[in-house]
Structure formats: C-alpha cells, structure tokens
C-alpha cells in the first residue's frame, strides 16, 4: 500500500488507456495507470484473439507517439475494400462497392492483431519515465474532492490527481460508481472471431460480405492469413462455437467463398456478444470517460478502437491545452470541451453502423433491392466513394492535432 501523487490517473491500461497515457506523458504530465490484469495476462495470446483495422488517421497518431515503429512489422496494409452482399452457398450478388486506396493515395487502413498493439504499447509505456504503470491492480474506489480526486486501488494504493480517467472498457466500474447512465441495447448477435490460413494471396483486399444473418468480414493479415469477424444471432453463434473442427470448418467455408482457394482455421475461436451503448455524459468534475467506457458501437465498420483513439486524441489535446495555460484541467468546464467535441461524432457513427446492420441483417426482398441499388449507386459516384473512404479513414469532423500527425 502506497500513496502516489500524479497529474493524471488512468483506470485501464488497455489500448485506449495506454495510448492516452503516452500522449499525456509526452506532453509533460506525470501519469499513473492501473489495470486489473497482470502483465502476463495482457501478453497471453489466448486473452484477445481480435484484430483491429487501424484507420489511416489513427496510424498517423501512432507514428507521432512512437508506437507505430514497433507495430509496422506486424501490420498488413488494406489497399482495397470490397463490400458486397451474398447469400449462403450462392456466392456474391452482382452489385458491390469497391474502395480503392489509389483514389485517396494512402492505404485505407492497417490490420494489426490486438496482442501486437498491446505489446507495443506496454513497451512504450515502460520506456516513458513520466508513466507509472501498475498492472494487476483494479480501481476500487474514487473520491472526488474540491481540488483533486483520490483513486484507491485493490491493493490499497491511493493515487491523488486533479483528474481521473476511466478507460476500463464497456462495463466500466468507475462509470457505474459515478452514476453515469448508459443508453443502448444488445443486438442479439455475437461476433465469432477466428484466424484462417488461405491458399492464394489476398493482395491486401478486405471483404465485407453482408449475409442475411449478419455481416461477415474477411480482414487481411500478414502472410496468407485473414481474420474473420463473423456475425450470427446469439443462438446460432452458440451452436457454431460448439461444433467440432470439421463441421465448423465446413460452416466457415460456406460463408468464406472460393476466391482465396482452400481455407482452414489456424487459431482458437472467440465469441463476443454485440452491444450498442452510449454513456449519457462523458465527464463529471475531475472525471472523464474514454473509449468503450463511453461508447460501444456495432463492430461491422471496424471503427470501435478508432473511435476510442479519437477520444484519446481529443482528450489529450483538451487537457494539455488547458495545462499549458495553467488552468485546472480537472474542472468540468474544461472537460466539457472534450465532451462536446467527441459526443456528436460517437453518436453519429453509432447510429450509422446500427442502421447498416439493421438494413443488411434482413432478408426481406424489397429491402434487398434498395440496398443493392444503393451499393451500385455509391460505386458509380467517385466523390461519394471517396467520402466513405475518408470517413472510414477517420478524416471527417474537426481533427485533433494527433490525428493530423502533430504532437498533442
């Protein structure tokens, strides 16, 4: 049990919490980061089998923070994205949208396995002298006072700081304890995640196939590998997860198609329930939410972590701008600038991805005609296509400096 004084305390040392700690520390603030997981748990390959599509603005930010150089060897550039609609066993419908990186001059994003991002962030945090990292300790209590807050950890350690940030993920205990409510619903769908090896090279093409049961994404990884994010109803997902290897592979092949030759799973399977939720407020005096603690959206557009890292960029900039003016950055009027900046964007993306999922997870014929025509239209209009690509790349809205590749 010890007493720590810091400029910022962060609960949660995952991808959002660690990136935030780096951005703030590089701006000159002393940061303490606590996480309930031990280091060994964080680096365990079985802990998190997901991959993430890093938008190009996110990549610029990771370059600025010095994280990207550690990630690059394990990152697969996405040069094209093909979105289409298929029916089980029938192959793709004739209409599709093709996003080509040559139209905007940068890769559309990069696919990186979560565990590599975690490893790179841990290494960066440990070499940053302004970060005090406390793995294996959960945040257990937060007391907010007039001029500072005290965060008590599970081992009795007390961190005193003017601002405490919860980056604890979807079920943030500090958010609950602070009485911030969330609005949202469960999709009744689960995302099955598995890595596959395939015969022919993917050439950096990502496929987003809309099946009636839900989106099925094929995300290119380094080598002849891809990560599948395979959405099913909860009941169907439970059935598929319980299948022995041979029938599981058969189900997988039915959806995957033939375009990359023979395909087989090469990792264990993970399944995650899909939920949408948005916190009613992002800030209170001396307290702010970032990442999934503030919002969880449908993963079909691959924007969840990008959205969380946009929070990081906006929050770090708001806090550092205030600190450089000598202002008390834990004050709610300072923190509300961050809230106004981020809440609208998160809400918009939540609504768009929710709408897309509802539109496509449906086998009703007229609806299918509408969406096929819609796809054909988007595909034929280059400015519209570029707009979609820029949004997927994280370029719309007022960009925080980090997302432009500048220091916070």
């Amino acid at each position: 049990m010890s007493e720590i004084k810091a400029d910022i305390a962060i609960a949660g040392g995952g991808m959002v919490g660690a990136t935030l700690a780096l951005a703030l520390a590089q701006g000159g603030l002393d940061v303490a980061v606590a996480d309930p997981l031990t280091r060994a748990q964080m680096e365990d390959e079985r802990f998190d089998g997901r991959v993430v599509a890093l938008a190009f603005a996110t990549v610029r930010m990771l370059k600025t923070l010095g994280v990207w150089e550690r990630l690059a060897p394990n990152a697969q550039a996405i040069d094209d994205i093909i979105v289409n609609e298929t029916e089980l066993g029938r192959g793709p419908f004739p209409f599709s949208i093709h996003f080509d990186h040559r139209e905007i001059g940068e890769p559309l994003g990069h696919i990186v396995e979560n565990r590599y991002i975690r490893q790179a962030l841990l290494a960066c945090m440990e070499s940053e002298k302004r970060i005090r990292f406390l793995p294996g300790t959960a945040a257990s209590d937060l007391a907010v006072g007039e001029s500072r807050a005290v965060l008590t950890l599970s081992d009795g350690t007390r961190i005193e700081a003017p601002l405490v940030i919860a980056a604890e993920g979807r079920d943030s205990p500090l958010r609950e304890a602070q009485g911030i409510q969330t609005a949202g619903w469960s999709y009744g769908q689960s995302g099955i995640v598995v890595t596959v090896a395939h015969e022919r090279p993917h050439n950096g093409v990502a496929w987003e196939q809309f099946l009636a049961t839900g989106p099925f994404a094929i995300l290119p990884m380094t080598g002849n590998r891809a990560s599948l994010v395979w959405t099913e109803t909860d009941r169907e997902a439970r059935r598929i997860m319980a299948l022995p290897d041979v029938p599981f592979t058969e189900e997988l092949r039915k959806r995957f198609g033939q375009h990359l030759g023979d395909v087989r799973p090469v990792s264990q399977r993970w399944s995650y329930p899909l939920k949408l939720h948005l916190a009613r407020s992002y800030v209170k005096p001396r307290f702010a939410l970032a990442g999934d603690a503030a919002h969880t959206i449908h993963p079909l557009a691959g924007q969840g972590l990008n959205l969380g890292l946009k929070d990081v960029a906006a929050l770090a900039e708001t806090v550092l701008d205030a600190a450089r003016l000598g202002l008390d950055y834990g004050r709610v009027d300072v923190l509300q600038r961050y809230e106004r900046w981020r809440r609208f964007d998160s809400f918009t993306l939540a609504v768009v991805t929710d709408g897309l999922n509802r539109l496509f997870s449906n086998d009703f014929l007229p609806l299918r005609l509408v969406r096929d025509v819609g796809m054909a239209v988007v595909d034929q209009i280059p400015p519209l296509r570029r707009l979609f690509m820029r949004h997927a790349g994280g370029e719309l809205g007022t960009l925080p400096r980090l997302l432009k590749g500048l220091p916070a």
Partner: protein
C-alpha cells in the same frame, strides 16, 4: 496570538465557501472563467516571446516573478503560478485575499496573497518581472497616479499588462447594458461606464509613467461560437502591454 480553534474553523469555513463560489464554473463568476483561456493565452504567448521562453512546455516561466493587482479570488494568480511564475496576488479587500488563500491552501503553488494596494508595495520596494492589471483601471479614482505607482513595481525590462473596457457607445451597449442588464452575466452596477478608459488615453498615461507601449490587443465575444477570441476590434474589451525599458 492564539485564537480559539472554533473561531478559526468558522473563518476557514466561511472563506472556503466564498472560494467555492468564485471558482464554481456555473456560479456567478462564470463570465470570468469563460474569458480566462483567451487572456491567459495572450499573456502566456506575449510573455514567452518577451522573456525568451518556450510557450509549449508546462512551466515556461520558472524563475520570473509576477504581481497580480486586484487578484480577487485568484482566478489569474493560480494559473500564472502553475505556469511557473512566483506570484504575489494583491487585493485591497481582506475578504478577497482570504478567499483566494483558502482556494490555493493545499496546492503547493509558488503563490502568496496579501491585502494591500500598489502604493503600499512601492513603499516596501518590491519589484516584479510582470505586473498584471486586469479589469482594475476602470475602478481606480486617479488613474495616472495609480499607473505611476505600478511602474515603480516593475524591474527594468519588465512588462505590465492592462486589460480594461473602452468608453464607446458599443461598450455601453454590450458591456454595461448587455452584460449587466440583458444577459445578466454580471451583477447590475458592476461597472460605471463613465470610468471606462479609451485606448489612446491609457497609452498616453502609460507613456507618461515612463513605459513604452508594445501592443494594443482587442478581445471580442463571438456569439456564433459562444466564446471569446483575440481580435482587432478594441471597441469593447482590450489589453495593452507596456515595457519598462532598461535605464
């Protein structure tokens, strides 16, 4: 002198409550909090350039001293101390000094508050690198004498910042009638428009006191962004920076 502890406790409680009022972002001093970032940014950037400091680090002004005249609840003194200045907050009101002290009591900042006037400090022979006169001159009876006293408090090469309200029809409409009576940002009677000072009058008085005017900067409220920004319009709120050249 030893006071009974209970009396101290009552005093502390009273001034802590007043401090909470001064510092409440939604309380009656909210217009000052909304105004603070833009003027802090201006002071920081001007001072960083003048003293050759890097405005992007967190404590650019370590080793420099600052006097905040008419410090009120300490809304400027505290940020200035966080930016590294060794700060003396001075206010003729004992109540304000106790209030500001209560707020920064455990902060560990290089900051002291004293109940005295500029003239009182001159008698002590105190000298500072930077003197802030923010929203003070419009409340002063003999402005010329006041600015001469403030000039004596500057070290050679030091700078004085004066922020105040212009005496124009626009300021009568916006700062007096608009802010006090229509929007009710300020308590009615806060300002006497007849005491507002025109920039050329202020510049002349500063030069007469022996200073060299370096910058006249307007500050405007942007109703679309609902925020303050620096502007070339000095008709309502403006700031003047003047330097005491080395003899």
């Amino acid at each position: 002198m030893t006071e009974p502890t209970s009396v101290d406790a009552v005093e502390v409680e009273k001034f802590s409550r007043l401090a909470a009022e001064w510092w409440d972002p939604k309380g009656k001093f909210w217009p000052l909090h909304a105004f603070n970032p833009v003027r802090l940014g201006f002071i920081r950037d001007f001072a960083a350039e003048h003293f050759g400091r890097d405005s992007q680090v967190l404590k650019p002004f370590e080793g420099l001293s600052l006097l905040d005249i008419g410090c009120g609840g300490g809304l400027l003194s505290e940020p200035m101390a966080r930016m590294g200045f060794t700060v003396l907050g001075a206010d003729p009101s004992e109540k304000n000094v106790k209030t500001a002290s209560a707020h920064s009591a455990d902060s560990g900042l290089p900051l002291t508050y004293r109940a005295l006037t500029a003239e009182g400090l001159v008698d002590e022979g105190a000298k500072f690198d930077l003197v802030l006169n923010m929203e003070v001159v419009e409340h002063v009876a003999d402005l010329g004498a006041f600015l001469q006293a403030c000039t004596k408090l500057l070290k050679p090469g030091g700078i004085m910042l004066v922020a105040t309200l212009n005496r124009t029809l626009k300021s009568l409409a916006l700062a007096k009638v608009g802010a006090e009576y229509v929007l009710r940002w300020l308590p009615a009677g806060t300002h006497d428009w007849n005491k507002f000072v025109k920039p050329d009058e202020l510049e002349r008085l500063l030069e007469e006191a022996g200073l060299t005017v370096r910058r006249v900067q307007g500050v405007s409220f942007d109703p679309l962004r609902w925020d303050w920004r620096l502007s070339s319009d000095t008709d309502v709120n403006y700031m003047v920076v003047a330097e005491k050249l080395s003899p």
